[in-house]
């Protein structure tokens, strides 16, 4: 049977890595045979996974050495626990030693794993620090988002601490899940069932339009590979000037859009002629729109 595309959204963490790296180049660290599982889940009567829901290792992409971590969204929603977090942290710290052309994080996560909450939260702080250390050492850290869980909670902070973010249209990037907002603040604040609203608020297209992510691709492993490859070996500056520029960008965003009630209002103000049509655009059509808007990134 012919398969037109290999969906990133549907692929497991291992399949994503297979599709991303050069064939046969991947070498996993602390793989499933090592059975490094969560020490906390059995006490809660929960099944463990042999890799604790994250695959880490090294390989090459187009011949260039990279480190890669892929969260398995199917296991506990890709949530970060003690072991899971330590594997990602260790991988990013390895970047200081081996200086690869990039460290790549394929994130698919709801954030902290509540079943080992305190360890998971502190682990995310450590991941973030390790990512920033890698960046300060000149290794670009590239994030890809396009799985079922999106990228939420503390990991959304981690993602925005990295150099580049590539996402598919299915991707979401936000700190709070819509269900959490609805539960706490009520359905008037956020109707989590209204998926179109969810994507207008947190989805990759909105994030691309306001400058939170750097590339939007179709839901295709090959498209992710191409986009990621474009950022390999390209660290972004992290000095005081870069922080000031980021501050200016974010401040201007809040000034311009703070009164907007909906993503469509933001897009209209950005100069999108027909905001209602944005969700239906395919990746190519959408990227054409982004290019047409002045400067691409607001």
């Amino acid at each position: 049977m012919r398969v037109a595309r290999h969906s990133f959204y549907e692929a497991t963490a291992r399949k994503r890595i297979d599709g991303l790296l050069d064939a046969g180049s991947f070498r996993e660290f602390c793989g499933p045979a090592a059975r490094i599982v969560s020490p906390h889940l059995p006490a809660l009567g929960m099944p463990v996974a042999f890799d604790d829901g994250v695959v880490v290792g090294e390989g090459t992409i187009d011949g260039r050495p990279v480190l890669v971590a892929a969260q398995e969204g199917g296991f506990m929603g890709g949530a970060v626990g003690e072991v899971h977090g330590a594997k990602i942290t260790g991988l990013l710290e390895r970047a200081l030693d081996v200086k690869p052309d990039a460290a790549i994080l394929l994130l698919d996560t709801g954030g902290v794993r509540l079943h080992e909450a305190n360890a998971g939260l502190v682990a995310m702080g450590e991941i973030q620090r390790a990512a920033l250390s890698a960046r300060h050492a000149g290794v670009p850290v590239i994030v890809a988002i396009g799985g079922k869980n999106g990228c939420y909670g503390g990991m959304s902070i981690v993602a925005r601490s990295c150099d580049w973010i590539v996402a598919s249209e299915e991707g979401r990037l936000s700190i709070s899940g819509p269900e959490v907002i609805e539960t706490v603040e009520g359905i008037e604040e956020f109707d989590a069932q209204d998926r179109a609203l969810v994507w207008r608020t947190m989805g990759a297209k909105h994030r691309r339009l306001i400058g939170e992510i750097d590339a939007l691709v179709a839901d295709d492993v090959e498209a992710f590979r191409t986009a990621i490859l474009g950022f390999v070996g390209r660290p972004r500056p992290l000095d005081l000037d870069a922080l000031e520029a980021e501050h200016e960008m974010l401040s201007r965003r809040l000034e311009r859009f703070w009164d907007c009630a909906d993503g469509r209002d933001v897009w209209a103000r950005l100069g999108v002629n027909d905001p209602a049509s944005v969700p239906a655009l395919d990746a190519a059509g959408f990227n054409g729109l982004v290019d047409a808007l002045s400067g691409g990134r607001p």
Partner: protein
Amino acid sequence: MLETAKTARVWDTLERSYRARIERGAAFADGKTVRRDEIVSFLEAVIEPGDRVCIEGNNQKHADFLASSLAKTSTDAIRDLHIVQSNIALPPHLDVFERGTARRLDFCYAGPQGLRMARLVGEGKIEVGAIHTYLELYSRYFCDLTPHVSFVAADAADADGNLYTGPNTEDTPAIVEATAFKSGVLIAQVNRLVDKVPRVDVPGDWVSFVVEAPKPHYIEPIFTRDPAVITEVQVLMAMMVIRGIYEKYGVTRLNHGIGFDTAAIELILPTYAQDLGLKGKICQYMSVNPCPTLIPAIESGFVESIHCAGSETRHGGLYGGALRRVLHRPRRHDALEPHLLSARRPLFRSLIGSTLQIDLEGNSSTATLSRITGFGGAPNFGSESRARRHGSEAWLKAGREQRLSGEMPRGRKLVVQIVETFGDGMSPTFVERLDAWELQKTFDMPLPPVMVYGDDLTHLVTEEGIANLLLCDTMEEREQAIRGVAGYTPVGMKRDREMVARLREKGAVQYADDLGVDKRFATRDLLAARSIKDLVAWSGGLYDPPSRFRNW
């Protein structure tokens, strides 16, 4: 001499009652248009205690504003109603029982309210008349279950009460005509009041009152099955159905259920079946609910025509264009001829659908101990209609396999159940005895609630293989054929391995290898669409899915 006869019977009771109700209701209306703010008082004025009331609640379209307004009426004014309603889907449908506004219920399907329904029956707050099939309930609207008052939902109305039902007609005509032709009060909630309706679907003469609802009527997207959650096991079963049934019998005219099992079949027609060279040979004409998973089969020209009863979204859903090639879509006027209803629905040759429990005779039920859901239209589709005769290959071949005694050739409708051996939470689908027996006792029903009777069933498909019951000559063979595909359930483990081997030799039990199905290809890659977004792409952007199914 005629004195006694004269006082014996009054012949215009209904008419006088109708006039009195209209007069009382007129106080809350301008012409036929009820003032929305006064809807509760209005209902209290026109409905009388003990009335039979129909709240339109079809598969999808719901008169939700009127339903929730009824649940706000005073029980001093309205109580002990007898609700006659096809689909109990929304909380207010049961609120009226919880608070005593209504007491008796005749219905077909309770879906998501099944658990609460079972509780209220247990507490004595609901007296169930019967769980009907759609055909029986609507037929009885015209006999002894005619509503005194009916609530319907429509897209638009004019000041004269002419209704436009929009893309979603469903069962509205049946309700309207049964009510209006027997002096019942018909109240329509509409999304908008207009000067002139785009098309008159229900003439104003039959409509007593209209009210503009604050929100468009609720539409339950029960036919939308997200391809993203179809499993590899379902793909495997779909492959077996295509080879073992559709290809074998040359099934061209058929009905599908609305579950994920049949969605998987629909989604591998343009891939797997096409590669087998079956385009133009199977599944050309389908009578189905408007399932979006049919879009690839339609757009690729695999399916030639579709007959269906409603559409999913107010934008026309599937009809937004994905079905633009549909050659044949008659307006549903089954209701004009109620006696025809029972003939029209089971028009098609083959049914394939899912269930929750199957016993060793092949009887199946979707009613289990903790849940009363009813069956919708499945019993009508899932039965042999002995009056039918025609010369299709599928019908005749199945008839030959059945080998009835006597010389006269006789066909057989294919009725197929497709199930996984285990359901949610490792509950076995195959049981020695259906929960339906227990339910019959608990709820004091005249019959165990069986959806499809074993003797109407011709094939049973599981992930293990296909049991062809037509080829079973004895009840013992039938039992072993069923055990033979029941996998690792207790029922399956108790199979007589030798007998199952013999049945396999004569084709009454067939496993994937016997069917020429290569299990290694049973992956989601075979699905022509793997997400709702893929369906949108297939439709050329014309399919506008309900928001809750989007991930973009």
